[in-house]
Symmetry: C2
């Protein structure tokens, strides 16, 4: 062990209250609604009159949702917040406050947890969030991150999964499949590193994919843009488990079917090339990869002129009657039923069908 390593602070030296004080001292609340943050039995929020509050939480668990071999702690802290912000954005809300729960094993030093918090703080600054509560405890093994996020919205602006009708246009922001390709590249490098620890990988060519996996952003810019253009989505969801899984959620909640056009699904050139390189059909990566944190939403046909040339938004299909089912219209004009093979943490990692889906 080097002298450098020896200086790290064991968590038990600080204790729970010492650690929480240390971690939260640099956070400053910016919203007047955040009446009281860290330091009492509960946080106190004074909601704006007439607004509704949105609440969501996500649990991130080491070796299930992230692998410390290739995940920088600061990025992990940032991403833990982003996945929660994305849930509020997907309701067409504005995120305001977070509460952070951490379970930390003794292999983590106080400095490591501070590094994680530096990413949390960066995300709070970027997304204008107040940290209003937390709970830090030991875990017998590994790192557990449980974040609760609170947002607000005008009641009539909230977009549910259930509001779509047949003929509504299906839109998606950004491009899909990149985060999953980033994950596969990182997994490949990990295997190669374990086989040969002296290897120094050059991943500069794959930077976009790695960034999409390690440091995604939530698309509040898209909901803001839609609002400015007077477009009220009829349904919306964020893409955490893959396009296929999410569109099925919208169809089920809205009681519709859907037709998605394979050639309209936005896939970045690097995602496309990397998928080919890894022997994966790019459309399958987009459908089943997950963790893109893009927005999948529907708009009325009458909004077509407004969305058709909107930068950062692709129209990829339309909702149908329920009995028409959920289908992918392939490039050679075949109808393929869409099935969810997305990332379900209770099942397995994404399955890549051996047969070509297109």
């Amino acid at each position: 062990m080097s002298a450098e390593e020896k200086k790290l602070t064991d968590l038990s030296e600080l204790g729970e209250f010492g650690l929480i004080d240390e971690l939260t001292k640099d956070f400053k609340n910016i919203h007047s609604e955040s009446v009281l943050g860290v330091g009492d039995d509960a946080a106190v929020i004074k909601p704006d009159h007439g607004k509704v509050m949105l609440v969501s939480k996500d649990l991130l668990i080491e070796n299930i949702h992230f692998d410390m071999v290739y995940t920088p702690l600061k990025h992990l802290g940032y991403k833990s917040v982003v996945v929660n912000v994305s849930d509020i954005v997907a309701m067409n809300g504005t995120p305001k406050q977070i509460l952070v729960g951490l379970g930390v094993s003794s292999k983590y030093s106080a400095e490591a947890i501070q590094e994680l918090y530096s990413g949390i703080r960066k995300a709070c600054q970027h997304y204008q969030l107040d940290l209003i509560g937390g709970d830090t405890t030991t875990s017998p093994a590994g790192l557990f991150i449980s974040i609760t996020i609170i947002g607000e919205a005008e009641a009539e602006k909230v977009v549910y999964r259930s509001g779509a009708s047949a003929n509504d246009l299906v839109c998606v922001s950004g491009d899909l499949g990149a985060a999953y390709m980033g994950l596969l590249i990182l997994e490949r490098e990990k295997s190669e590193f374990l086989a040969n620890p002296n290897m120094q990988p050059d991943l500069s060519e794959k930077e976009y994919l790695l960034e999409r996996q390690l440091k995604p952003e939530a698309r509040g810019d898209i909901t803001k843009l839609l609002g400015e253009l007077g477009i009220q989505p009829t349904s919306m969801i964020d893409i955490s488990d893959g396009l296929a899984s999410e569109i099925l959620h919208l169809c089920k909640a809205s009681n519709t079917g859907v037709a998605l056009y394979e050639d309209k699904i936005p896939i970045d050139q690097l995602t496309y090339d990397t998928a080919k390189e890894l022997g994966i059909v790019p459309t399958v990566a987009a459908l089943n990869g997950g963790e893109d944190y893009e927005l999948l939403f529907t708009v009325r046909q009458t909004d077509f002129e407004k969305v058709k040339n909107l930068k950062g938004v692709s129209v990829i299909g339309y909702m149908t009657d329920r009995q028409e089912g959920e289908n992918l219209v392939t490039v050679d004009n075949q109808l393929l039923p869409i099935t969810a093979q997305g990332w379900d943490a209770l099942k397995r990692k994404p399955q890549m069908p051996s047969s070509d889906a297109s």
Copy 2:
């Protein structure tokens, strides 16, 4: 493996969405503020006009906060909710909604998680809570329970830790130390069981202690009673880490000192006898044991007549100027500085000083 055991359902058979559907199907929302619960990207709450919202979260981790050897899953589910309810009550608020995050290892069957949820449901019924969100995922080992609770209060009725002044009376509800004695009895039985698995313990005499450990209740009845009598506490906290730790929190936040009278600390006879049996000073069990989930609060001197004979409430001392420090006045009239040796999950289990604290 018996035929009975074989019928248990592997979690991966249901998958995340199947499991959440199954677990939440019996929950019915009762509050009109709960606009939307489980089933979208976030829950939607419409706060009552003029009220503030209270938000808190607690993480419970297997082998840190509970031991499956002696913790029935239904009780664990119940207690997980209660510890959160207690935080809202300690702000003088009314708990309204919870979100439940679970990390579950493969050793748990779907039936085991349903049993856990049956306890969560029972607590929701008892405390009039709506389950409005959840997140269920795998964990590499053990069970992780992360509950977020939302409550409401009239802004001017919220009680902070910071509102006490010198001369305010210090009060505590119920009795202290019993939950910790219950834990020690369970730990003792576990050791004996591991040494001799055929042993059938008779714990009927210790029932009160076990119930205080395994199935505590939050003291909303006390805050309700205080409200009815027109008593507004000046500061309040719930006792999760032991009386010593909590009174130090109130003193620090309120910038006061305190004098607590050892002979006024409410200790049940069974707690007293069991502590003696285990070689522990009963006062130390009350000061440092924790998990009582009783309320520690201060009231103005002018409320003395109202609280002095209040059933379920003991006046145990008074706040002083900061420079007088935090002291225990022992039965033989000595002043002992109060130090926090409570249950800090980042440090160790409660330390029982070998010297007599009284």
